[in-house]
Subunit: 174 residues, 2 copies
């Protein structure tokens, strides 16, 4: 999956010569959708993650999962978040966003089970951006992230808050 | 770390003879604090998680982290969530809670960096519990979870929503 209309697209006149094309706060456009990429869910990885981080019976065996809403072996919700982050981080690094981390997440919802064999598709929309009041070198933006499976069903949604440098705040953007 | 005053403590008269002492919706007491346990953060695990799920430069090297708020290599926020879940899941399984999964998380905040060598302590308080309107066999409860490091500083907080069976909804509780 590739982005079709990226809110991270460079603003007109954004020229850096031979400098890296870092994406800064000023380059973000509120309201545009981005497709960040996809992730193949494997049974082995579901079990590995669950053994390490979420060893509840329904994340470890089909038989135990059959007694619950999941029906069969399903990924830990935190594993779904991690797989989503893998897609987002890959995008952020490839597109050289000057991201400084995240203070948090709101309204995270595991809407449907994620099963081995599923393909997750991650897309998002920047809903707002705000310059920092105290720190002139950065701003924040919020993205509504939606993760769907191969059937187009939303399996995970959340709103992330992300910190990003402002242009002129580091050597690369000078 | 062990629970000192568990909201999952059995209600008076809760006797099952030789049956497993499963903890059901009816056994949960709103307002009591529980210490769920602790987790040692290792450099190797921080790097393993980041390579797989959050390969942003500041989660992969001290040098890159030194350019950011983190100062030195810091765990992915999602890794902190996963380590917290490891503590919660271990507690839930050991205490035989009849947990059915979680629909989501609210107000997740990564308050301070988590570093290799840190020890995370996970505690929580049940803030409310609600019988399901549509499904008489289950209810939900919300827990405010606080994760602190060895210095007592809160590094991660969130409110989780958890589904749990009601007593009498399965063979074990009959």
């Amino acid at each position: 999956m590739h982005s079709r209309a990226s809110p991270f697209a460079l603003a007109p006149g954004h020229g850096h010569g031979y400098a890296p094309l870092m994406i800064y706060f000023e380059d973000l456009e509120v309201g545009t959708d981005t497709e960040f990429g996809s992730y193949e869910v494997t049974r082995e990885e579901v079990l590995d993650f669950a053994r390490k981080y979420d060893p509840q019976p329904f994340h470890l065996s089909d038989d135990e999962a059959a007694k619950t809403y999941f029906g069969r072996l399903a990924a830990s919700g935190w594993h779904s978040c991690a797989m989503t982050m893998a897609v987002l981080a890959r995008y952020s690094v490839e597109h050289q966003q000057a991201v400084l981390g995240s203070p948090g997440i709101d309204e995270l919802r595991w809407r449907k089970p994620v099963y081995p064999g599923d393909t997750l598709h991650v897309r998002g929309r920047i809903v707002d951006k705000t310059p920092s009041r105290n720190r002139p070198e950065m701003g924040s933006f919020r993205t509504e992230t939606i993760v769907t499976n191969q059937d187009g069903a939303a399996v995970l949604t959340f709103t992330s808050i992300v910190l990003i440098r402002r242009r002129g705040s580091d050597a690369a953007s000078a």
